[in-house]
Point group: C2
Chain length 391, copies 2
Amino acid sequence: MTHAAISAARERDPSVTLSNWQDAPQNRWAFAHVDELVPTVDVRRGRGDAAAIRTKPAASAALDERVPELAGFLAGSFTDAFMVLQHGEIVDERYLDGFRPEDRHLLMSVSKSLCGLAVGRLVGRGLIDPQQVAGRYVPALVGSAFGDATIQQVLDMTVAVDYNEDYRDPDSHVQAQDRVAGWRPRRGNDAADTYAFLQGLRKSGEHGRVFQYCSAGTDVLAWVVESVTGTRFATALGTELWSKLGCEEDADITVDSGGFAFANGGVSCTLRDLGRVGELMLRGGLVDGRRVIPEAWVTETIRGGDPAAVASGSPFQRVHPKGSYRNQWWVTGNERGNYYAVGIHGQFIWVDPLSDSVIVKFSSWPEPMTEEWNRSHAAAFGTVNAALAVD
Amino acid sequence: MTHAAISAARERDPSVTLSNWQDAPQNRWAFAHVDELVPTVDVRRGRGDAAAIRTKPAASAALDERVPELAGFLAGSFTDAFMVLQHGEIVDERYLDGFRPEDRHLLMSVSKSLCGLAVGRLVGRGLIDPQQVAGRYVPALVGSAFGDATIQQVLDMTVAVDYNEDYRDPDSHVQAQDRVAGWRPRRGNDAADTYAFLQGLRKSGEHGRVFQYCSAGTDVLAWVVESVTGTRFATALGTELWSKLGCEEDADITVDSGGFAFANGGVSCTLRDLGRVGELMLRGGLVDGRRVIPEAWVTETIRGGDPAAVASGSPFQRVHPKGSYRNQWWVTGNERGNYYAVGIHGQFIWVDPLSDSVIVKFSSWPEPMTEEWNRSHAAAFGTVNAALAVD
């Protein structure tokens, strides 16, 4: 079956299994139905009314006129849904191949950026000190790679850890973590659950020097959140973030057999609700004038990390030469000041302060991530930003 | 850990595993968190506002005065939540041990009664003829126990099938079905999924003569629903029933590795939303004056099946001597005309037409079902009904 033949709207793609759901073409259906493949726990929006997002009438047509290549780009980049917010209004909203406004889509590593915001709020509440080491909050991590890493180092991914993040290698740490999380069939000697897995990771050098993208770091942050709130991560993410945004729908997050929520990549939510996260960043941590995330936290995040920590020949810096990573967000360092959250297979929150706009995109790329995909999306988003700025 | 020490509100009971979650004391936490243990699919409530249910002020206190033994009965019968509706108003609503109004609780075989209603609606729409055999709608079932059974026989559980429904026997069919459904760890030679499992069940005699409670029959009905609607059962249950009731929350239902929803026992929903199902029955299939289920279907269901088909020495008839089973509901044949939906470990919708009331109870009994539990609950519900009738 071809990728194009599979729609998120299909009632069930019978070819989907726990072994192949992250691959094309099965990922098109699977990314919209993760709760049918892996156990999940709700991230509650709370019981109040959703904060309505206004829609600018006939806006999509206007954007197509200004960016005539947009429709072709979206169709050619395995898009499941796409939205642009400007000045807090929806100026473009599209659902492709049957994906619907009420459907949740897997965020992959955009999940990390949500975790970063929850940590920011808890820092603001005085529950977490970014200069303390993770082992102080989670004694079980002492002796692991993360035990003596500061929370800030974990947030900025400058922890030196023996961790292979090759999504295509069955012997990599990241695939092992997938298996432990219930995302792939287990092997006999896998760790019992993510708590055990994290304790088994080993330090590989000095922390704080070099940017090393390591998914497990976010799970360490989630464990710290559990420790300081006394609740599970999914509960805390609901309390500290999701219930504060005026969301329309609950999010959910996958959980492993030990009840650990897969903070680094397991959140699913609707397109509009993810747009609300971008809006939160644009408004400096405010939602409808109410303080949700400390302003300083948002400011520091947007300012970015140390570009020198990132390998200059890395695919990221080949696209964004001044790029850095801060508090679980990617900061381009470009002249527009764009920053973003990104997940493999094409999940994005792209923020453009200059035009006061947010782009959200859900995709089911056949590849986890390539420099070309990253480059083409940055270029397309930049074109949209430039078109909006004409206003 | 004792049963009493485990609360549904616990963030996570670390002793819960896929092997023990249905047993006490783990079932207290697990029945409120099934989606964390087994993959699920949403049963959507639709996007409209919920139909508010009015609450009679200070009603619980009044009921306690009239039925002083009620609180003790609830505490002693592993109750997670309890509600009484009279004339469409909440006259009693209690949440115990941390279970909350927004939490979903596993319905077990109360799920069957929801499936029966969905079938009733599809009969009313002319999509299902109860006199046709199941094999006509699902050719893959021809040759199995159900291929030549009429839909009415399946609805009334008078299909003669080689099926052992002993919940405690690891070699029973019902435990095998649990494993296939993802509710227990698999064994090597288990069927690939429920579709395959159902095709493998064999006829054991003549259909239509003897009541034989067989959980698999409901899954056959669900497969028929999928066939005639062209959608999966969870979608159909949402479209035909859940979205018509004014529910406050989505329900969900567990799914196996083949995407088959566990129609016979896998639905979870909130207490109030389940109360809406009882109200639907009391109003003869109407919701706020709108027709949802054909009146004749509700009338026939309430009239009951053939009590002579039920073994007179059975635990059911020892409690309800004129009891019968019709369209996936239990009908007591008693002088009050009570009928009910029941699931193992203490899930109930109990309808009392005389006092125009509905009782809903979620529990986590340590036993799946005993004659004594069944008897004590019928007695307690009868006492409440009698107290309400004084009005």
